[in-house]
Every structure is written in C-alpha cells, then in structure tokens.
C-alpha cells in the first residue's frame, strides 16, 4: 500500500511519544505556573508551602470545603461548555457573563406568575427560560459573525457588557421587588420551587444538571454526526460547504446551544442559591469559564475535572484571606499564570506532534 503514492505509513512509536508528551506538557505547565506562583507569594513574604497547604485545605480539605467547591463547580462546568461548544466550530466566544446574568434574570421571573403549583414543571421552566435567553444572546454573536463578518470574540464581549447593563436596568427598575431595599432584587421565587439538595453530598441539584449536560455534550460531540459536522465546519468552512453542510446554520446553532448553557448556569444560581436575581449573580463565573474551557482543551469531560480544580481554588481564596491576609485576587494571579503556561505548553505540544508526523 505504502509504495503506491509514496506515502509511508505513520510509524507508531513516535506517535505514542507525542501522545505521552501532550499529557505530560500540560502537567509540566501547571507545575511551572505553581513554581512561579510560589516565587510570587514568597516575594510577598509568605511561605509557599503554607499557601499551597491552605489552597488544598480550603478547596478539598473538609466536607464543608468540598460542598463549597462542588457548588462553585456546577456553574463553572456550564460556562466552560459555553466556551467549548463554539470552539469545536473554531469560534472564540467569551461573553458568558452576560448570557449567565440574563439567563438568571429570565429564570427568576419566569415562575413569578405561577405561585403555588407543582415544583418540578416550574423548575424545568426556570432552566428553559434561562437557556432561551442565554441562547439568544450568544446567537446574536454567531449571526453577526456569519452575516456581517464581525469578530465574534469582540462582539460577544460587548454583548456581555450590554447584557449586564440590561440586567441592572431591569432589576433596579421594572422588575424590582419594592421590598428589596439595600440590594435591588427581583421578587423572590416561591421557596418550594428552589432546586432540592442532592442526597448524600448536600450540594444542590444544579450540580447533577451540569454533570448530565457535560456528559450529553461529550456524547454528542464524540459519537454523533452532529459533533463530526461541527468539527468539519471548525476545520474549514470551505470543505464543509463542499460536502454540503449549511455552515451558517451550524455555527449559529453551536452559538445558541453554548449560550443556552451559560443561561442555564445563571438560572441554576437563581433557582438553587439566590432565590432571586440580583447583583450577586455577577461574580465573574462567565470569565472563569474561558479559563476552564481552555485548560480542558474544550473537552467536555475534562471540563468537569478542571471546573472542580478551579472551583476548589476559588473556594480556598477566603481561607487565604482569613489566615494570611492575602487579597482575593491571589487566586486570580495563580489562575492567570496557569492559563498562560498551559497555552504555551499546548503550542509546543502541537509543534512536536507536527514534527513527529513528518
């Protein structure tokens, strides 16, 4: 076979090494980022060992820490998916924060006209309302890209700022509960509609929803022709058109589904934690989702693992502040370092893969 076109069959051995490297390099990257972070806190007069000990303790050291970590991981998984799904089609959409807060707002007001009915359909309604609004918001970025050639990274971020402004306008205006004095909020949802706690782990059911969605996205992307089509579109729009894929529809569809994920994240925060939509929703989950998705290389199951890690790191911030007086932003610095190092490691891994293939 190999002699027909002059193409040699790919020798198996270097590929194994490359595969091993593509696992080893990100691990090395995280270690390098940790070393730089250790130097940074040492310069600040803290013992790095103490800091790392507290990060582990605050994120994963007790059942209370695990509860905090898991309930942070739930929205992080979803906003991570919101970045990862369009990434399959070659898009970098980073406006998850806007879709999240608007999804939360939609979830908070969707059930207000229907007090005192069965909880399950109402909980479903909240999540669907959040998904629809979030999907609409990301869908706009997809439409602008496909029909007007507007860079989706910039447009999604602008839409995010606009979404947050609309959120403030509505929660402090038309949709405000007059009883909320110091913190403008919407009318609280019927307490019986709040998402229940998962038995055994005392974390809200939103965690289960986000895990199920991550698995569903994994299955769709990996095992169905939808996932394949999306990757073809992401690989080359020209090839995709040649084999008869409606590129616009796929790209806008992927954006809508992704926005839906961010919207559900907001609706879960309302339906499981806040009970109302107010500025507590705007805590930067949307931006953390970018980090989660890139560290997981846009793989849904890896997103779950990375969301746990980042959730744990964020959960430990308050412990670092209490014990050592380190500011909240300490974890932001650490996350930024990891982000940079992993991206560079990814580039190097890709180069190595290309050289071994030749």
């Amino acid at each position: 076979m190999s002699s027909i076109s002059g193409i040699e069959p790919v020798p198996p051995k270097p590929l194994v090494t490359a595969a091993r490297l593509s696992v080893a390099l990100p691990v090395l990257a995280v270690l390098l980022a940790s070393a730089i972070f250790a130097a940074f806190v040492a310069l600040y007069g803290q013992n790095p060992a103490t800091v790392f000990g507290l990060i582990v303790q605050g994120g994963f050291g007790s059942s209370f820490a695990w509860q905090d970590t898991l309930s942070r991981a739930a929205p992080l998984v979803l906003v991570g998916l919101a970045v990862a799904i369009p990434a399959q089609a070659g898009l970098v959409i980073i406006g998850g924060e806007g879709a999240l807060v608007l999804g939360g707002l939609a979830g908070a007001v969707a059930t207000l006209p229907f007090a005192g009915t069965h909880a399950l359909p109402m909980q479903f309604l909240m999540l669907v309302a959040g998904a629809l609004i979030g999907g609409l918001w990301f869908g706009l970025a997809g439409v602008l890209r496909q029909y007007r050639g507007v860079n989706e990274t910039i447009s999604s971020l602008l839409l995010s700022y606009i979404g947050i402004a609309v959120f403030h306008h509505l929660t402090e205006g038309m949709l405000r509960d007059p009883a909320s004095f110091d913190k403008p909020s919407t009318h609280p949802i019927d307490p019986s509609y709040m998402l229940p706690t998962l038995p055994g782990v005392s974390v809200h059911a939103g965690l289960a929803v986000s895990l199920l969605l991550a698995i569903a996205v994994h299955v769709v992307l990996r095992y169905t022709r939808w996932g394949f089509a999306l990757r073809v579109v992401g690989g080359s729009a020209r090839v995709a058109r040649m084999i008869g894929l409606a590129v616009n529809r796929w790209i806008i569809g992927a954006s809508v589904v992704a926005g839906g994920m961010a919207g559900i994240a907001g609706a879960i925060e309302v339906a499981a934690v806040q009970g109302t939509a107010n500025s507590s929703l705007i805590v930067g989950y949307g931006y953390s989702g970018i980090l989660v998705a890139f560290l997981a290389r846009h793989q849904p199951l890896a997103i779950v693992a990375v969301a746990l890690l980042i959730g744990g790191m964020q959960a430990s911030a308050s412990l670092l502040q209490r014990r050592l007086g380190l500011p909240d932003a300490t974890m932001l610095v650490f996350q930024g370092l990891i982000f940079v190092c992993v991206l560079v490691a990814d580039a190097i891994a890709q180069q190595l893969r290309e050289t071994t293939r030749r």
Partner: protein
C-alpha cells in the same frame, strides 16, 4: 451669562467635557493597539495592561508624590506586559486570541493583588489646564478643564501618523505587518519588530490606564476599567488602522461614554444603566456597519488574522 441661564446648553457642554475626559484613555489604548496591529499582531490583552497601568501609575504617584512619574511607571509596566505578550506570541502555533485573554486574567489579577493597599490612600492627581478661564459660567469652566494628557494624546496621533508614513522605521513596521515574506526578503528582523511594536502598544495602554486612576475617574478601584482595552480593538478596526481616524473615533466613543453621566447631571436618571451601555452599543453598531461578509477588513494589515 450666569449658571442658571444656560438652560439646555448644559447637556452638550457636559457631553463635550465628558467626551474629552472619557476619550483620553481611548486615544492611548487605541493608538497602542494600532501600532501593534500594524506589525501584524493583535493584542486582546490590553484590558489587563490598562488595569496594571492604572494601578502602577496610582501607586507610584502616591509613593513618589509625582503623578508624572506615575504615568511613566504605568507605561513601563505596560511595556513589560507587552514584552511578555510579544514573546509568548512568538512561540510557533500559539493561539494569540487565547494568550490575550490569559493576559487579561493575569494583568487584572496582578493589578488587584498589588493594588489592594492603594484603595484607601489618595495619590496626587495629574494637573489639568483651565481652558475655560475666559468664561464665568461654571459649566463652561468645568467642561474646558482639560487634562494635559489629552493634548499629549492628540500630538501622539499625529506623531504616529508621521512615524508610520514618513520614516524608514515606519516603513519597516508596515512591511512586517503587510507581508512577512517581503519583510524577510528585505532582511527585516520580523520577530523583533513585532515584539517591539507590542511593547510600544503596551506602553501606551499603560499610560492610558494611568489616566483612569490619576485623572478621571481619578482614584484606584477594582471597577476602574470597563472594557476600554477590548473596545480599543474594535475602535482600531473602525479607524481603518489610521492614527488620525483613531483620534476621531476615540472622541466619538468618549462622547458616548459621557452621555450617561451628563444626563444624570441634568436630572435624567431613569435609564442610567442603559445610557452607560451606550459605548458598547455604539462599538457593536460600528463593527456591524464597518465590516462586511464579502471583504471583512479591506484596509487591514496583510498579516493580521482577525478571521481564523
């Protein structure tokens, strides 16, 4: 004429004054981004650089008592971040959009971390020039109380125009940005030019950030920047990669940004948040209007990859 008799004129005056104040950081960040993009690279991370510059400028001004030393340090901090971006993006196969986003996280994180002790103290602000001395109307005086950095920004726009179009180094920068092959054939050091262009962009973004903390709004807080670094990227596209256009676009964005506070000043408060979102809506509208699917970026430098 006294204050009470100017009536509705108060609104355009407040917008004019606001436009000058709000546009100043835009001028610096967008011209910085323009220089970087002219070399064929895009820096999405200027939002982080802006925050770092704002923090460094405020901190050094507080410690040294000299706001101009603060501006210089802000520029140097931004330049260091530009160097980092330039080096990281020189690694083959690296995703420069993602690098930009990661530097937003890192820059904001560093600024918040190091800036924590600066939230309380009051640093000496940048001086402003009272161009409204001839008038007795307080609104006119307020509107024409213009910061010196604004004039530096105007001079900068023209200087960059001359640099790009009339000097050998400018030609080298444009060649590197338009065709890497041609630049290599001419023996230009492509990577070095790009790294230096990114450093220059970072320096200007840092200076723009120092204006935020040292003049308007005029103190260090974690909510200081609200997307100016990202909007600069859109603004450069709108300005068709020309520095004089970038100056005009910055003034326009400044005017949009001044709309909310100006309306609040004359008592219109109902739509405060929506008016504050005006710059984002304007940016989006401009991007929709100034790009098209057929030829997205006709005047863009050839090596610039706005579409992957």
């Amino acid at each position: 004429m006294d204050a009470a008799s100017i009536g509705w004129l108060a609104l355009p005056l407040a917008i004019l004054g606001g436009a000058i104040r709000v546009s100043t950081p835009f001028i610096f960040v967008s011209i910085g981004e323009l220089i970087t993009e002219k070399s064929g690279r895009i820096n999405l991370g200027l939002e982080g650089t802006l925050m770092l510059g704002a923090m460094a400028g405020y901190g050094i001004s507080y410690l040294s008592g000299s706001p101009w030393l603060g501006v210089l340090s802000a520029g140097l901090a931004g330049m260091a971040f530009g160097l980092l971006h330039g080096l990281l993006c020189s690694v083959k196969r690296v995703n420069d959009t993602a690098i930009g986003i990661s530097l937003i996280v890192l820059g904001t994180g560093l600024a918040f971390f190091l800036g924590k002790p600066l939230i309380e103290p009051k640093a000496p602000p940048l001086p402003s020039i009272a161009l409204g001395f001839w008038s007795s109307v307080p609104q006119v005086r307020a509107a024409l109380d213009v910061n010196a950095l604004f004039f530096v920004g105007i001079a900068l726009a023209f200087a960059v125009y001359v640099f790009l179009n009339r000097t050998g180094w400018g030609l080298m920068l444009r060649t590197v940005g338009d065709s890497e092959e041609a630049a290599r054939a001419l023996g230009f050091p492509v990577l070095r030019v790009r790294i230096i262009a990114t450093m220059a962009g970072g320096f200007l973004a840092g200076v723009g950030g120092s204006f935020l903390s040292l003049s308007y709004p005029g103190s260090w807080s974690e909510g200081l920047s609200s997307g100016q670094g990202i909007m600069a990227v859109a603004l450069v596209i709108f300005a068709r990669w020309r520095s004089i256009n970038a100056l005009g676009a910055s003034l326009l964005f400044g005017g949009a940004g001044a709309l909310g506070p100006a309306l609040q000043g004359i008592g219109v408060t109902g739509y405060y948040y929506l008016f504050n979102a005006a710059p984002y809506v304007l940016t989006l509208a401009i991007m929709v209007a100034s790009t098209s699917r057929a030829a997205p970026f006709a005047d863009a430098p050839g090596e610039l990859k706005l579409h992957r």
